[in-house]
Symmetry: C2
Subunit: 340 residues, 2 copies
DNA sequence: ATCGGATGTGGGAGCGTTCCCACCGCTCAC
DNA sequence: GTGAGCGGTGGGAACGCTCCCACATCCGAT
């Protein structure tokens, strides 16, 4: 049906039909001030009859804004759709943008060969701002984007010296919480399975571990430190190494839940009781933490709140690009379950 | 630095700098035919010096195309980021669109209250076409979109009588494969744990089950039919019901892998050997199928291919919106592992 | 010489908006 | 009665691009 889709009506046509000028019609559409009730009604009727929809391109051309914000995720589909962290943060972002009357546009920065296309898309005035999610090392994407005058907010810094606005979890504080808890529980030899040193989440959680030990008057014992890659298997391997080297270990703080799961697995295989003989604490409070055996004590972070915070920061930057805004650190808290 | 971000250069400025006309500059940018080497060089230099980037809105305003395609996923973040199916299909779509020089824009149709905003976005000439992913029942979204003259392709029909172009897995054929396999293995009492009757994936897989039994000269025995909701727990419950009612059951075809996992769990608890006493076959070939105990025999479908196919269909529709294009059914094949 | 056809080129028109200014008709104060 | 002020209105200009037509140039064929 309707084989010939007549061209979309323009504002001019709406105005003509309503018997008013183009200006008045425009005013009605844009929350019009100073329009008589009579004119407003006529325009609204005309819009309904014609099925008029404004052309966003024409509008953006003159207003220089699109009311859309891009969320760029620089990870493989596998990771994005694997970690529940992303679901949470996207929910937060979507909700906050919706409240602000803006549309969320999600872009995956998959293969690096496609990076060019992404760049173009962002640069060509399709969106008013960019949220960037990537826990990766030295990505020049944020700088490239900003070079084009687009506001950017990064979620989870890639390295310590980010120049742009960012929102991140306070990793140092969170790790400190976890370790202080283990100290409180009277644990004597508190080990850690740290994350990669070249990721902020890795290095700063280790930093928090060291700080909390220092606060308790202890020192970091290299024999009690192992590193993993945030994967479960690496956690298991690290735990084996720790047990070999230091059988007397009675607690371990893992830089994320997945590695904690691996540690739990190794401990089970080694016949060590958790938490009686060895206490285990994770970081993230991912859903798996709850269903682990035993349920995992872990540092809770809220991806949803992180998303909201990113949006808030971006909106501020958009209204006043000049102000130097500091990054935002989100607090964490400890969820004590049965593994400690 | 650069506190006053001078306005973006326009095409006119590029042309002036290169000492050519606006038309020539435009020609260079758009894969220009009929441009002298000299002019091309001058324009390219000017572009580089000025850091010129075309304004997509201005371009779209006159060309009436944006070279962007939206992928709308009408599911909760939880589901989207839970099922690996989505990761696969998005990879396929992204790759295919990239090959076609188009940008993928992902939109989540989360809370229904936000549906209005989504509608607007799609309608206002931001994208040239829409891919819709939703396995839900009676969604009017596709029709609304099409009413605005936007080409749409739906992935996985919601119901039998879809009017739009769609791409779906051939569920009937796949289920038939699975059941025929069980018949071949000499199974006598082949049960099924079907999906919801109001989803195509549910009803047509059941249909395939019935057809394969008929082909083997058997009839559907209502006592061997249970229904689940595609969740693991529902599969476990259904299996319990089957065992209670018909202890002699020696095979079960599950409408998806997750329910098969649940069934496996129940069988283990009931002390039944798989596959010796009871054979289990799933549908989907999700990653979990491989890591199940025992590894699950299942019907393989390729979400990635489905994504590519959706894009192909959409591109065709975009070049010729008139032609009535039939939906596309993708074939499946059986992956035999240790559970049958 | 003259012409016809490539090959390049410049720039006007127009895409559908918003912005803004000029202007209209009233009312109210003086 | 005059003028200031206000609610309301119409439409020109501009946003930055592509399209297309007119035109200028140069070549080889007649």
């Amino acid at each position: 049906m309707n084989r010939t889709p007549r061209p979309r009506p323009t504002l001019e046509e709406v105005a003509a039909r309503a018997g008013v000028g183009r200006g008045t019609a425009s005013r009605v559409i844009n929350g019009g001030e100073k329009v008589s009730e009579r004119a407003r009604q006529a325009v609204e009727d005309a819009i309904a009859e014609l099925g008029y929809v404004p052309n966003a391109n024409a509008r953006a051309l003159v207003t220089r804004r699109t009311d859309a914000v891009a969320l760029v995720i620089a990870e493989s589909e596998e990771r994005v759709f694997g970690e529940p962290f992303f679901a949470g943060i996207i929910r937060g972002i979507g909700a906050a943008l919706g409240d602000a009357g803006r549309q969320l546009v999600l872009l995956l920065a998959q293969a690096s060969e496609r990076r060019g296309a992404l760049d173009e898309y962002l640069t060509r005035q399709h969106v008013d701002g960019v949220l960037l999610l990537s826990l990766h090392d030295d990505d020049e994407l944020p700088d490239r984007i900003r070079a084009h005058g687009l506001p950017v907010v990064v979620g989870g810094r890639a390295n310590e010296n980010v120049t742009s606005g960012f929102v991140d979890v306070d990793n140092v504080q969170g790790a400190g919480l976890a370790v202080a808890h283990l100290v409180d529980r009277g644990r004597a030899r508190i080990a850690t399975i740290a994350g990669p040193a070249d990721m902020v989440a890795g290095s700063s959680r280790f930093q928090g571990y060291a700080a909390a030990l220092a606060a308790a008057g202890r020192e970091v014992d290299e024999r009690l430190v192992e590193r993993g890659d945030f994967g479960q298997e690496s956690g298991a391997a690290a735990m084996r190494a720790l047990l070999d080297r230091e059988p007397a270990v009675d607690a371990v703080f893992c830089a994320n839940d997945l590695m904690a799961l691996g540690a739990l697995q190794t401990l089970r295989e080694a016949g060590r009781q958790v938490p009686e003989e060895v206490a285990v604490v994770g970081f993230e409070d991912a859903p798996v933490a709850l269903s682990a055996h035993p349920p995992l004590t872990t540092v809770h972070q809220s991806p949803e709140q992180m998303g909201r915070e990113m949006v808030a920061l971006l909106l501020e930057t958009m209204t006043d690009p000049e102000a130097d805004r500091p990054g935002r650190m989100l607090p964490t808290y400890l969820v004590v379950r049965d593994s400690s």
